[in-house]
């Protein structure tokens, strides 16, 4: 599956970088989401959890 993140709406909670560090990191300047690896195996639990946990709902999995 492909990971997309809306950086404009990101609130920099860090839940994605905490939960799925192999796919997500945070911008050093303001902590906003960086998708470091945009492809993940379908249903990958860490990535699915990161999307679910995101408080601003900015992570989309396609």
């Amino acid at each position: 599956m492909r990971i997309e993140a809306d950086r404009q709406a990101c609130t920099s909670s860090g839940m994605c970088a905490l939960t799925a560090p192999d796919w997500f990191d945070q911008d050093e300047a303001d902590g906003r989401v960086l998708v470091t690896e945009p492809e993940a195996p379908d249903g990958e639990p860490a990535v699915t959890a990161a999307a679910e946990l995101c408080p601003a709902g900015v992570i989309a999995l396609r």
Binding site: T11, D27, G31, E52, P55
Partner: protein
């Protein structure tokens, strides 16, 4: 919904046990969202006790915080009522996007997962120092005074560049600001005192900058001094009142759940998950988070009209049986992810990754240093913070 229905008045807040939300509140879980009457005038608003409904409300930009909160879900005025009576500039919890975004993004780079990882050795040093102080105070010492409050206080002071030696100016006032038994005027006076202290600190930091957040605010051309002080104010207060209570109440909870404590001692790898479960189980932000509907909105088939107050009872949502199996059991091995102890939506706790680091290191080192840690008085003699916006214990005498 029948018009004839008698609406519950307010959000129940009297606890029957030390660790569980009020029984009368949990009884309201049969409906995830319902109308209630608000204090002081009985005007209708909403109470959310369901996990999914709570997430919906807090993630929905139609429910805002940049308004003056005039009503409370509890008889003692809510902490949002006192703070929004005179919101300090820069106090970004009470601004909505885009202003909230502008202010919050000035601090989020400091609280990233990576930055908090880098801070771990310093947190560990501070924890070690406070464990030594607790030991030196001797059996019977108050864990709140020697350990649970100083650890997060020292950490946030160092990050902000607020001299810990000045703590008389903010530790007591920070507590008073969130003391619901005080009048709104007295809480505002406490807030004004810390704020005044920080307003003086900003130009002092500009004149003599350090590698810290207040110095960065002072140097930021996009922030005026009072705004910079307001940003420091929210971080200072939030940094004091939350982790301190989780450390103390969490320790007491572990001591009173010996089988769970034994499990954690035997398997230190459980710690990250155990911290999440303690956050879920205890949910110290037990005053409910409020929002005001900016426009008419429908949630789960309920029509919420513009101007109405909505309270999300985080402590009830975290005990939602639709989200967690056996929600009233403390189970350090469970997957507590997705709990709402830090809130949800764009205002979700900005310091949550710091709190996690402080708790993981704090609990681990405390348990390691004191294999025989126990309460020094019967647990029913521990004074609980029932009238404080952040739940916990006032004191926790321990021996080892």
């Amino acid at each position: 919904m029948s018009d004839a229905e008698v609406l519950p008045y307010g959000m129940p807040y009297e606890r029957q046990t030390r660790y569980d939300p009020p029984a009368a509140l949990l009884e309201l879980q049969d409906r995830p969202i319902r109308p209630i009457r608000y204090y002081p005038d009985g005007v209708e608003g909403w109470l959310v006790t369901g996990h999914a409904a709570g997430r919906k409300v807090l993630a929905d930009p139609r429910f805002v915080t940049g308004e003056r909160f005039t009503r409370s879900p509890t008889e003692l005025p809510h902490v949002f009522v006192s703070i929004t009576d005179q919101v300090p500039p820069g106090f970004f919890l009470f601004f909505d996007p885009p202003e909230h975004t502008r202010l919050r993004r000035k601090v989020t780079g400091v609280f990233t997962v990576k930055r908090m990882k880098e801070l771990e050795p310093r947190v560990a040093d501070i924890v070690d120092e406070r464990i030594a102080a607790l030991r030196a105070a001797g059996p019977g010492a108050d864990l709140v005074r020697e350990f649970a409050l100083p650890v997060p206080s020292l950490v946030i002071c160092e990050m902000l560049g607020v001299p810990y030696a000045d703590r008389a100016a903010f530790q007591g006032n920070s507590a008073n600001m969130l003391d619901l038994s005080l009048s709104v005027e007295d809480r505002n006076k406490a807030m004004a005192e810390i704020f005044g202290y920080l307003i003086d600190l900003v130009p002092a930091k500009r004149a003599n900058p350090g590698d810290d957040m207040v110095s960065a605010f002072a140097a930021d051309p996009d922030l005026h001094d009072v705004e910079a002080a307001g940003m420091a104010l929210i971080l200072l207060v939030a940094g004091h009142e939350t982790t301190a209570n989780m450390l103390a109440l969490g320790t007491m909870t572990l001591l009173e759940h010996p089988a769970q404590l034994e499990r954690l001692r035997a398997e230190p790898g459980l710690m990250p998950g155990a911290v999440e479960e303690l956050l879920r189980y205890l949910t110290v932000a037990h005053n409910g988070v409020m929002r005001i509907a900016k426009e008419d909105a429908e949630i789960d088939g309920h029509r919420i009209t513009a101007g109405q107050h909505v309270t999300v009872a985080l402590h009830a949502a975290n005990r939602d049986p639709g989200r967690y199996e056996r929600p009233d059991a403390l189970d350090l091995g469970r997957d507590a992810q997705g709990h709402m102890a830090f809130g949800h939506g764009v205002h979700q706790c900005v310091g949550q990754q710091l709190a996690r680091v402080e708790m993981r290191i704090g609990f681990a080192k405390l348990l390691e240093a004191f294999p025989g840690l126990r309460l020094a008085v019967p647990s029913d003699q521990i004074p609980m913070r029932s009238d404080m916006a952040v739940y916990g214990v006032h004191t926790l005498p321990v021996e080892w």
